[in-house]
């Protein structure tokens, strides 16, 4: 039965609800005509590489750590030094983003609402797998915007209560979803971060070890990639990180991260003299 004055919809998906009834609020799926893209890298055919970011996730004993740098760029200019690329999605999952900042943040917000909406309507939360699939559908819905140069590329981590372990999911622009067994990094510095993690990763890292590895990988990525910001010791801006465990999501404090970098920088400096 239709209710007047209240929103009617048949499914439990908020994303589906707003795409159907409020398309202006959802992810933009059509806009300017193809070819009018302002992104030069797109015109030259180098499509689909999310630029200027490094975000990564590493599994450890209690779950997963997810971390990201703070730099946003516009061409050769720095647009923002303190942007947040790691988002808490619900009590057991978080995502990090690479790509065009506006649509990325919008997708994170939409995904948060989506999971809460489903949980309230159905009376129970989605499974970890279900959440990862849902995000894939949202990335897929954004495909028309990719051809405008507005790429949204998430890295999703969640704690799977049934399996009692953390899980990492990566995506491609068509919404394809792939699970990573140990660690992963995306963004322009993703490759550099993966190289570092490959060298130092081992199974069942402790929490401080995982944090250490994540921060070193981000530092090395910032070292080799202009699009990735390193720790800014003058302004006191450090990468952000979250622990995703069965107990919930914990933000890693700036003090913890600064301590890791102070030690690492001292060690590297001693090699230079």
């Amino acid at each position: 039965m239709k209710l007047p004055f209240l929103p009617n919809h048949d499914e439990s998906s908020f994303f589906h609800f707003i795409s159907t009834h409020h398309p202006d609020l959802g992810l933009q799926t059509q806009g300017v005509s193809p070819g009018s893209s302002g992104d030069p890298s797109f015109r030259s055919g180098q499509l689909s590489v999310p630029h200027a970011t490094t975000v990564l996730a590493i599994k450890y004993q209690a779950g997963v750590i997810i971390a990201g740098d703070r730099r946003a760029t516009e061409g050769f200019q720095i647009a923002d030094r303190r942007i947040e690329k790691v988002f808490k999605i619900d009590d057991l999952s978080a995502m990090a983003i690479a790509g065009a900042a506006g649509p990325c943040i919008e997708m994170a917000k939409l995904f948060q609402t989506e999971l809460e909406h489903y949980e309230k309507l159905e009376g129970m939360p989605l499974s970890c797998e279900g959440k990862a699939n849902k995000l894939g559908q949202m990335v897929k819905a954004n495909l028309p915007m990719v051809f405008q140069g507005l790429v949204v590329m998430p890295l999703y981590v969640g704690y799977d209560v049934k399996r009692a372990e953390g899980r990492i999911f990566k995506y491609d622009i068509t919404g394809g979803r792939y699970e990573e067994s140990d660690y992963h990094a995306i963004g322009s510095g993703g490759k550099d971060a993966r190289n570092t993690m490959r060298e130092h990763f081992k199974k069942n890292l402790s929490e401080p070890e995982a944090l250490n590895l994540a921060m070193i990988a981000l530092y090395n990525a910032a070292d080799d990639d202009v699009g990735t910001g390193g720790p800014d010791l003058i302004r006191g801006i450090y990468p952000t990180a979250k622990f995703v465990t069965g107990e919930g999501i914990t933000d890693v404090t700036d003090e913890q991260i600064r301590a890791v970098y102070d030690r690492m920088i001292a060690a590297r400096r001693s090699k230079e003299t």
Partner: protein
Amino acid sequence: MAMPYYVSPEQVMQDKAEYARKGIAKGRSIIAMDYIDGVLLTADNPSASLHKVSEIYDCIAFAGAGKYSEFENLRKAGIRHADLKGFMYSREDVTGRSLANGYSQSLGTIFSQELKPLEVEILVVQVGINGQPNEMYRISFDGSIIDEKHYAVIGGRSEAVQAVLKEKIPSQVPSLQTAVGLCVSALEQTASQKLSPEGLEVAVLDRNRSGRKFRRLALTEIRQFLSPQPGA
């Protein structure tokens, strides 16, 4: 041409109202009550999975009495309304008052325009944060909306429960344990039977929680609250 029967509008409305009232009175009652940290919702509900009380948004909860399929539909529409508003503006712009108005409009229109009115009575409660008072809106099948203070009852023999509460309610805002005890005894008195903790659905909007304030009380907690205090 055959003349259609004439029935006075007064008669139509009266019949509809009587029909709806009968449906609602068949069920069991639900009580909402202020307690020291927020609002308590207690329902006499033998089912553990078909909820009568549920979360709408950060500070807002919903309770429905009457026909399950009908208030379930209203509950879902309410969540959609709240989530849409929160997404479009911000989380703090979602208010119980606006939701209660939507429900009232919707129920009123259905009552006057549809053949069959909805056999439901619903409650929208909002816990007050930052020193704001709690809000409770009781909305009837015909869309009439009543702003209740301190406690509200819907469904079943709601007037009888209300009468019991009116006598028993303390002048000071009760603790959670006292409030649970009070609600259960009022429900038992009107149902004239003992209610087991398994047959109760109890939830709170606790203003001390961060973010989403709604929480269901576990069976063990309800048992603890209802068991006679040793040494008390």
